[in-house]
């Protein structure tokens, strides 16, 4: 340490050495240099190949959640079909069939069940067709209202007013052993359950169909 030449100000030694070695390699002749470049290219190619081979399982792993909608869905019972009062709309909740132990409360899913006849039901997703916020049912005025942007739906799920482009999403249902079952397991959105289709029902406001596009020929 006592040696004054240890001072950082004399930095020139490093670059000098580099330059010297560069000159040395130039003197080794073009054949040797091109062989080194070839080896370097071989090294890059090897790493590229291994990278590609590794990319396959990595991409497969990353895309694991992407599946057909049906593979996520299954039939879930919402209770005895008789337990729903005729002509009324009830909020029910069920456990999402596709769960992990660490899902916590998020595996509770809600739906609105409307009983229209002896075994006639409509089961609505609670998600507003605009941006998915949970709509609330008001039995007094027979309307669903969304708290986010004020989308409103009639009792049959058709669009009444506000920004939604279509009516509420519905679940497929069946009655099995007296139980009302729905085909659920997937967050309803415009890309799966119902798509952006016209589900116009009797009495729907004509203007509501503006956004519903080429389904009316």
């Amino acid at each position: 340490m006592s040696d004054q030449s240890d001072s950082p100000r004399k930095q020139s030694t490093g670059p000098d050495i580099d330059r010297a070695s560069e000159q040395a390699s130039d003197q080794e002749g073009p054949a040797i240099v091109s062989r080194r470049w070839l080896l370097l290219k071989a090294g890059i190619a090897l790493n590229g190949l291994v990278g590609l081979a590794l990319a396959v399982p990595i991409v497969r792993y990353l895309l694991a959640p992407v599946r057909k909608d049906d593979s996520y869905k299954s039939w879930i019972s919402l209770g005895a079909a008789d337990s729903f009062p005729m002509g009324e709309t009830r909020l029910v909740s069920f456990k999402n069939p596709w769960t992990r132990p660490w899902d916590g409360e998020t595996d509770n899913v809600a739906a609105y069940v409307r009983k229209e006849g002896a075994n006639q039901f409509t089961v609505f997703a609670i998600n507003c067709a605009h941006l998915g916020c949970p709509v609330r049912w008001f039995p007094q005025s027979q309307l669903f209202m969304c708290p986010c942007h004020g989308g409103v739906y009639y009792a049959d799920g058709s669009r009444a007013s506000g920004p939604p482009e279509r009516g509420l999403f519905t679940y497929d249902y069946k009655i099995a052993g007296g139980q009302l079952q729905i085909d659920a397991g997937q967050m309803p959105s415009l890309s799966n359950t119902a798509k952006l289709v016209n589900i116009s029902r009797p009495g729907q406001d004509g203007r509501a169909k503006d956004g519903d596009c080429g389904c009316r020929g």
């Binding site: 340490m1 240890d6 001072s7 950082p8 930095q11 959640p65 992407v66 599946r67 909608d69 996520y72 869905k73 909020l91 999402n96 596709w98 992990r100 132990p101 660490w102 899902d103 916590g104 409360e105 998020t106 595996d107 509770n108 809600a110 998600n127 941006l131 998915g132 916020c133 949970p134 609330r136 008001f138 007094q140 005025s141 027979q142 309307l143 209202m145 969304c146 708290p147 986010c148 942007h149 004020g150 409103v152 009792a155 009444a160 506000g162 920004p163 939604p164 482009e165 397991g185 997937q186 967050m187 959105s189 415009l190 890309s191 799966n192 952006l196 009495g203 406001d205 503006d210 956004g211």
Partner: protein
């Protein structure tokens, strides 16, 4: 003795410097000359954004000591941070307010850089990297909101799902990728944790290094002067001349202002954190609880407002193209206007564009804060009718008032300053609409109003419009239509003219 100690420190320093060899680059960075008038209070926002990034990293690591990134536990762990861990609330508040400040400062920095023409040659790439830094900052804000994992986080993600699901063909797959499964659940939180803590901060730090490197290599943008044009052939020489002839060393000449502003910003974050406290968490992330009014965090409020004003037919085209056009527009700025004037005195279009964007942003954020379009879900049962409207009411009018409350009209229409604002206030509705018009509107709806014809019986409609007809100031007559007016005006002077009544 003292000299000996100094000698010893010098030796220790030299030992490290011999190996690190970092003194030269640091000295270059610290002492490089900057044009004298860039040592300005206008040039402090970039360093403040960097300081806030450091604050976010430090507070983020401290929060990660307690936070549990599990769908089942995240919400609980935040409540424990808020209420049980000593000063956990303060750390959460610092991180939350630091986030808002960082977004704000990054936007201000961008506006300043745009206004000063700093994106022009040779700093195009600095601007481009800056655009990605802005996107990363917004990405941090959104993923951070998700990590709060309360109702707002849940339904905010739901909005993300509904936006992504509109992408043609790939929508479903993109939604699955975003959520890590078919629904918002534990897998979703895990991947947003990875994004918020590893992926985005890593990218952010790399891009920041690139950004700062280019600022050092290319020099800070000189103060724009009207008439001093940027030309690719001459700019570098002109800039170097300016920096050397009328330059001062970056430290301390300009840096003291950066330091003071950064310190003030940090202090402001701490004061906001201490006074206003942490954000939430709000209600637990149970999607079966529909009694919720989801709202995004501050940086995204404007989007929330824009999405409510779009006509339904515009929704999908807008959502799919607007973000791409916005980002493309920002990226294109230096390539469209890479040369020429830098001064805002000679760039009216730039000034107008910036002002318009800022105004639009402010208006939409204000609208979203006061949500005039969201129904007030409890107005029908919670807000009372002012007594003065019912003082002289007939039984039919009173019945109408009951219907007005019970059928949730109040959720969208205010009376006496209380109630929703989605529809117009009805305090003086009778002066605007005739009885027939009101009846028609109630039955058929239209615009943003549902048709109540299906849900109200004819007697209920009669009672309701009777009540609405009383809603006018005492000194103003209710509206009547032209035919009524004609019969009234012809009926009044009739006796004077002497003709016999019909």
């Amino acid at each position: 003795m003292k000299q000996g100690r100094t000698q010893m420190w010098k030796q220790v320093y030299d030992w490290f410097e011999r190996r690190l060899q970092i003194e030269g680059p640091i000295k270059d960075a610290v002492l490089h000359k900057v044009p004298r008038n860039t040592a300005s209070w206008w040039y402090v926002f970039g360093s403040a954004a960097f300081t806030l990034l450091m604050l976010q990293i430090v507070t983020g690591i401290l929060l990660a000591l307690v936070y549990v990134p599990s769908g089942a536990e995240a919400w609980n762990s935040l409540n424990i941070l808020n209420h049980q861990v000593p000063l956990g609330w303060f750390l959460r508040a610092m991180h939350g307010w630091g986030s808002d400040f960082m977004v704000a400062v990054v936007f201000i920095h961008m506006a300043q850089v745009f206004l000063f023409g700093a994106y022009k040659f040779p700093r195009e790439l600095t601007w481009t990297v800056g655009v990605f830094l802005l996107l990363m900052t917004l990405g941090m804000a959104f993923t951070g909101q998700v990590l709060r994992f309360d109702q707002d986080a849940y339904w905010g993600l739901g909005i993300g799902v509904f936006i992504l699901s509109r992408v043609p063909w790939m929508g479903g797959g993109l939604v699955h990728l975003l959520l890590g499964g078919p629904t918002i659940a534990g897998a979703t939180l895990s991947r947003f944790f990875a994004l918020h803590v590893f992926v985005i901060p890593g990218t952010l730090l790399f891009l920041v290094a690139m950004h700062v490197w280019m600022v050092l290599k290319l020099g800070i943008n000189e103060w724009p002067m009207p008439g001093r044009l940027v030309r690719k052939s001459t700019y570098i020489a002109e800039y170097n001349k300016l920096a050397h002839e009328d330059g001062i060393p970056f430290i301390p000449g300009a840096f003291w202002k950066d330091l003071i502003f950064s310190g003030a910003v940090l202090a402001a974050v701490a004061v906001c954190a201490a006074v206003f406290g942490p954000y939430g968490p709000g209600g637990q992330p149970d999607p079966s609880i529909t009694q919720t009014v989801p709202k995004p965090d501050f940086p995204f409020l404007w989007i929330y407002a824009v999405l409510s004003y779009l006509p339904p037919s515009m929704e999908t085209p807008f959502i799919l193209t607007a973000p791409i056009l916005m980002i493309a527009g920002l990226l294109a700025v230096p390539f469209v206007a890479g040369e020429g004037e830098k001064s805002w005195h000679r760039r009216p279009v730039a000034v107008l564009a910036l002002t318009s964007v800022a105004l639009a942003w402010a208006v939409f954020t204000h609208l979203a804060t006061y949500t005039p379009w969201s129904p007030h879900m409890s107005a029908w049962s919670g807000d009372t009718l002012p007594v003065k409207y019912l003082r002289a009411a007939t039984p039919l009018v009173r019945q109408g008032a009951v219907i007005f409350q019970a059928k949730q009209c109040r959720n969208c229409h205010s009376i006496g300053g209380q109630g929703g604002e989605r529809g117009p206030a009805l305090d003086a509705v009778a002066t605007r609409m005739t009885l027939d018009q009101m009846r028609y509107k109630v039955v058929t709806g239209g615009g943003n109003m549902p048709a109540y014809g299906k849900n109200l019986s004819p007697p209920e409609i009669e009672a309701l419009v009777s009540f609405l007809e009383t809603l006018h100031p005492a000194n103003e007559q209710p509206a009547i239509d032209a035919s009524q007016q004609a019969t009234q005006s012809s009926a009044l002077p009739a006796p004077a003219s002497g003709s016999s009544p019909p």
